[in-house]
Symmetry: C2
């Protein structure tokens, strides 16, 4: 643990609104501003409730940055027509991210539609290639997020940091990077070596925790400090690549969703400094 990072600085905290799924974007942005949290990460279903113009005005008026918009991707599908729709939808996500002033569009790549995971991986690569010019033109960086292998059947055939890196390296680093979320990568025996190899490809860093025992992998994420992830050690590896960007707190958990928003925001700040 000698290489662990020092205390995290709240100036780097971005509150991913999925952490308070029952709140509106308006409520989350206002709470960030009220509690000195400098940045927010948006989800499209929340963004679309108020529209991109209103969302852009909301964060501008509140003086809150937008670390990322989630998500584009879900590229694999049974038919070419459906795959084209997914690509078109991700182009729209790029436009939405640009409109709200986000730095990154997070890509959740999608799973095989028919058991053939190798074919799904090829569809993901094709999908990213198809949207890269649009992202470059819009000035939006794409962040490929490898998801924990527990989601390989329904959310992402891209599961390891290495796989995400090799995929990203097919493209310009300014346009295609990788999101490192501790929940997804903490277990990997090649974790530290692969994060180091990402270098300037790191497009975002997400923190939360892995609770034990693990049962519900979708909605069982923990608040930083409540689980078994070596958070500060991993942040040390991330920061030694030169990454000095925002750090998102992103937690899917019914119990955390039940907390009053301001109480949650204060808790997230405290735990961020203490553990992240």
């Amino acid at each position: 643990m000698s290489d662990a990072a020092p205390l995290a600085d709240v100036s780097r905290l971005s509150f991913n609104q999925a952490t308070s799924e029952r709140s509106s974007l308006h409520e989350v942005v206002e709470s960030c501003a009220r509690n000195g949290v400098p940045s927010v990460a948006m989800w499209r279903h929340k963004l679309q409730e108020i529209g991109v113009e209103a969302a852009a005005r909301l964060v501008r008026d509140a003086g809150v940055r937008v670390s990322s918009v989630c998500r584009g991707g879900m590229f694999p599908a049974l038919t070419a027509a459906e795959r084209a729709l997914r690509i078109d939808d991700t182009r729209r996500a790029i436009d939405e991210a640009a409109a709200v002033g986000a730095e990154v569009l997070v890509l959740v790549c999608g799973a095989a539609a028919d058991r053939d995971i190798a074919a799904a991986r090829a569809m993901v690569a094709d999908g990213i290639a198809a949207i890269v010019p649009h992202a470059a033109a819009a000035g939006i960086r794409l962040g490929i997020e490898p998801l924990h292998p527990a989601f390989a059947g329904d959310r992402s055939c891209i599961t390891t940091t290495r796989e995400a890196r090799l995929l990203a390296e097919r493209f310009d680093a300014a346009t295609v990077g990788v999101i490192v979320d501790v929940y997804h990568v903490w277990w990997d025996p090649e974790r530290d070596a692969e994060i180091a190899l990402l270098g300037n490809r790191i497009a975002g860093y997400h923190v939360n925790d892995w609770l034990v025992p693990a049962r519900d992998v979708l909605l069982g994420r923990g608040m930083m400090g409540d689980g078994v992830i070596e958070l500060r050690a991993i942040r040390g590896v991330v920061e030694r690549t030169g990454y000095a960007g925002l750090i998102e707190v992103e937690i899917f958990n019914e119990k955390i969703w039940d907390l009053p928003l301001d109480e949650l925001m204060v808790l997230a700040k405290e735990r961020f400094v203490q553990y992240a």
Copy 2:
């Protein structure tokens, strides 16, 4: 899928008794014999209900082979004294496996006791080194089972086929092999390459399925054919290493546990031939 294996042969089926957790070992062995299932895999808590002598007599009288006993391992612990207890317990597991005529003792390696997964991995390597002489003397092969990364926090810090292979390769192949369970390895982008590299290290092959959507990773395993794993393709890769041993059906699932044992045994046979 051109390299997929042909239909599975029932003569290679071993029914892992965890698939019928509410049944006794006696009931499972009798049902195997009654239904033409040639082999069983035992769990120690079931074995200990009747004792190893009775269990050995049971399978001998029924003419049922024993593919494996599960489990030894769980090596990482906070204190040296506790680690020594785990090693002693695994030596006893080796003796039990030998007493019932099992071919393999499955090792579930254990998770970090204190967040330090690198230290846990070192404790696993030390633990295996400590038991190898005993296993060799007893004629029991140890099967390191990499578990799905969803279990990295509570059951095994050894999560990938590669990591299990590199660990096994420190020892003689006759004494230390690797268990390939599709549930644990199906998602891995290096799956096929790593299984091929196992060569004569494959100490067992386990089948089941990954249900979608996945929520409960512990008790949400599926019957072969009900999920998204490319079973026959993986078996093709396993068999091209030369592996011609038993194939265990091992399914942890409350709904499957609710099935009457003979009905489940017939279903497992059918699905084994049709999908495994």
